[in-house]
Symmetry: C2
Subunit: 443 residues, 2 copies
């Protein structure tokens, strides 16, 4: 049932063939060009897709000059077309762009700054990749090599990336399909109470026992520390600690997928795992790292990297190249100098309070939860069942009100709030007002 339901994640808010008649001629022409060039692989958002022409800060502007408040995109974390990042990229691209088999400064300057955000261990080292998918692909091998085992535990709505190996540990990418034999999926503790946290650790222990019994053994626990695609799970802070302890006790690694929660998104900390007081063996990152310039990374204990180097080795042609490093360094400068982590915390608290207030007036809101600027709003019908239909109507209703947003969760019934980190209180108020109007129009 879970797997079938998760099909909704993919289908939700997707443009379909039947929608073509609704398009204006210019958009229809672009959709036709897209069909001739991309073919069938790429999903397009919205019944009436957006033809976007410009971006700035928290705003995306379509070709017809309409501005939309962007509550969806977590890649341009320090703002669309952030001038500091643009300048860093332009200057570095004009000076030097090679690979890490030569020496150059900027990648090490960046790596030093990045590693300094991990006070938990002094034996962490960095491997640079181009995408979060590549980072998680490396992480899986680090765990398999270190433990000599192949089994992984993930959450049932998890998405960790698109490579062959990573898609196998991403249940949300395999709607309607059984899990791979070396993978066990457990529910994310969405309820946010102590009982859910306890159940999460118990489910993990049962999954580990199942992997051991199957002969795959337990190589590691791989979790997105804000549980983005499961529908956002943040409370009670610290709930990952007993789970991480259980994973370590079973001889497995703890891999924190920080592709979505990392780089200040969850408010109080640079990394989502810090909210839980755990020390992962491997940390993976991607999306916001270069504000849209492709760059990803793996931070791991040196001993794990040594085992990997002795086994298959690793080289990534573009990974950590000077342009990617310069972009990532500018992003870190922006986060630190502008205090964006604290801002995400403050604006997120304001937003969460506003959502709680809306909940009291709109019974369709079953729950509002999250941390910093990664929040989820869960919709339910009168019988308390997840309401993906309403979620979809809300997404389109907000589009009509010039706000871009998406959905998550295994039932596709969680509105996903993860704007650029430069999102301010006034933007939060605009979102709350538009959500209020949209839900009122439903009732």
């Amino acid at each position: 049932m879970t797997a079938a339901a998760s099909r909704k994640i993919l289908a939700l808010n997707a443009f379909g063939d039947g929608d073509a008649a609704r398009l204006d001629p210019e958009t229809a022409a672009l959709v036709a060009r897209r069909r001739r060039t991309f073919g069938p692989t790429s999903v397009l958002f919205y019944e009436r897709p957006l033809h976007v022409a410009r971006g700035e800060g928290v705003w995306l502007e379509t070709a017809d000059g309409t501005r939309y408040l962007d509550v969806y995109n977590n890649v341009p974390s320090v703002g669309h077309c952030n001038p500091r990042v643009v300048r860093a990229v332009a200057e570095q691209a004009a000076t030097l762009n090679i690979h890490t088999r030569y020496l150059y400064d900027v990648v090490h300057t960046y790596a030093e700054r990045l590693l300094a955000t991990f006070p938990e261990r002094d034996d962490y080292r960095a491997v640079f990749t181009c995408t979060g998918s590549e980072s998680n692909d490396v992480a899986l091998r680090l765990a398999a090599i270190a433990t000599g085992r192949s089994g992984f535990v993930v959450t049932e709505g998890a998405y960790h990336g698109n490579t062959t190996a990573v898609a196998e540990v991403s249940p949300s990418s395999r709607p309607g399909k059984p899990l791979a034999p070396h993978v066990r999926a457990i529910p994310a503790p969405l309820a946010g109470d102590a009982a859910a946290a306890e159940r999460f650790t118990a489910d993990l222990e049962a999954a580990i026992a199942s992997l051991k019994a199957s002969g795959h053994g337990f190589a590691g626990l791989l979790v997105d520390t804000i549980f983005s695609s499961d529908g956002v799970a943040a409370e009670p802070a610290g709930f990952l600690k007993p789970a991480a302890d259980a994973a370590h006790a079973a001889g497995g690694l703890v891999i924190a997928d920080e592709v979505q929660p990392g780089f200040g998104r969850t408010g109080a900390h640079m990394w989502g795992f810090q909210r839980h007081g755990i020390t992962p063996d491997v940390v993976t990152m991607g999306k916001p790292m270069g504000n849209g310039i492709p760059v990803g990374g793996v931070v791991a204990r040196e001993a794990l990297l040594q085992g990997f180097a002795d086994s298959v080795g690793y080289f990534n042609t573009f990974g950590g190249n000077p342009v990617a490093s310069a972009a990532a360094l500018a992003v870190l400068d922006e986060i630190e100098e502008r205090g964006l982590t604290a801002q995400a915390g403050a604006v997120g608290r304001h937003l969460l309070a506003g959502l709680e207030s809306l909940k009291s007036r709109h019974p369709a809101i079953r729950a509002a939860r999250g941390a910093g600027l990664y929040l989820g709003v869960e919709f339910a019908d009168d019988a308390g069942r997840p309401d993906a239909g309403l979620t979809s109507r809300v997404i389109n209703g907000l589009r009509d009100r010039r706000i871009l947003i998406g959905a998550a969760g295994i039932y596709g019934a969680v509105l996903k709030i993860r704007p650029p980190l430069v999102f301010e209180t006034s933007h939060a108020d605009r979102l709350l007002e538009a959500l209020d109007e949209t839900l009122a129009a439903e009732g």
Copy 2:
């Protein structure tokens, strides 16, 4: 023996711990920073690594102001810091950089231009990724899904990328290790004669039979169409045709890995496979596509992409983003408007003739071969055995003469010539002269 020998590819020209004493203080300090940030995973080139500070055209300049002629780097294909690419990246980064779930023009403009370089089929469609590794990872799944089988045939020195799945079909990444059970490796036809070409097809047929007997079945033939890491195989043109026919006759797909030979490198054609008169089912690309901005791609028959979309789906956050697309479009503009494919052919012919002339004076040169600006110079000792030691000394001798170059081949005894495509006859002459001097100093 092959696998053990291929360890040399990784080790060749690598900086080792024992080399640290030779470094000047500034380079030693940077190497120490690298050890503290990267740890053990990344191989650094040269006994005395280069601290590079600037790039321009075919030149790399170190921090001390020394200029090196770059004969190694095929990523900055239209020249280091190409002004048109730099401008395109800077302008697009300042305007819009999002993902392909919204509509925007530049990715489709690029895709149309890219697909127009494939006159072989009108049902080819494009999927954009960030790296050649991601592209080959997609290609493997396209073949597995289309055929329902898991077996692949590659060449014994092949390198196709760094993801878990792609490393399994890259024998050169697995020195000393047995091949994965679903993989068969056959020798590349390096001899360049009709007998070698016939043997290649016969070896492929035997490998297919072995995969069928093993139960894996034959999903596809995956080849780099210039056989870069095998040590370069280009002659006789057309030798891939009977092999591709045999692959198709066995119900498998033909995947042309154009990460290295593509985008005009082999001289007469945009794509290496065109030299052989074949029509691949899937074409993969990466490295030079964005001149260093991470971008890769897969071009495949629409029916294959439909099967993929129906199975697991695919979305790549950064793949085909506006900045990557703008960079790739500028690269294509440069290749086409400046006639770089024809230039690669002309300069490559001049270089190959010069290498043949050197061969007559230096018996250590066993063979010179290749197409366009992907050439290999094979070194042998007096007994005719591959000479990796000499190759290494030549690489360092050329560095002393301010030329950067690398090695390939399963014995690490092939000098790999693959400069930026803007390499001119005068640069070729400089390389020939320095190689002549270096070999004379050996004798």
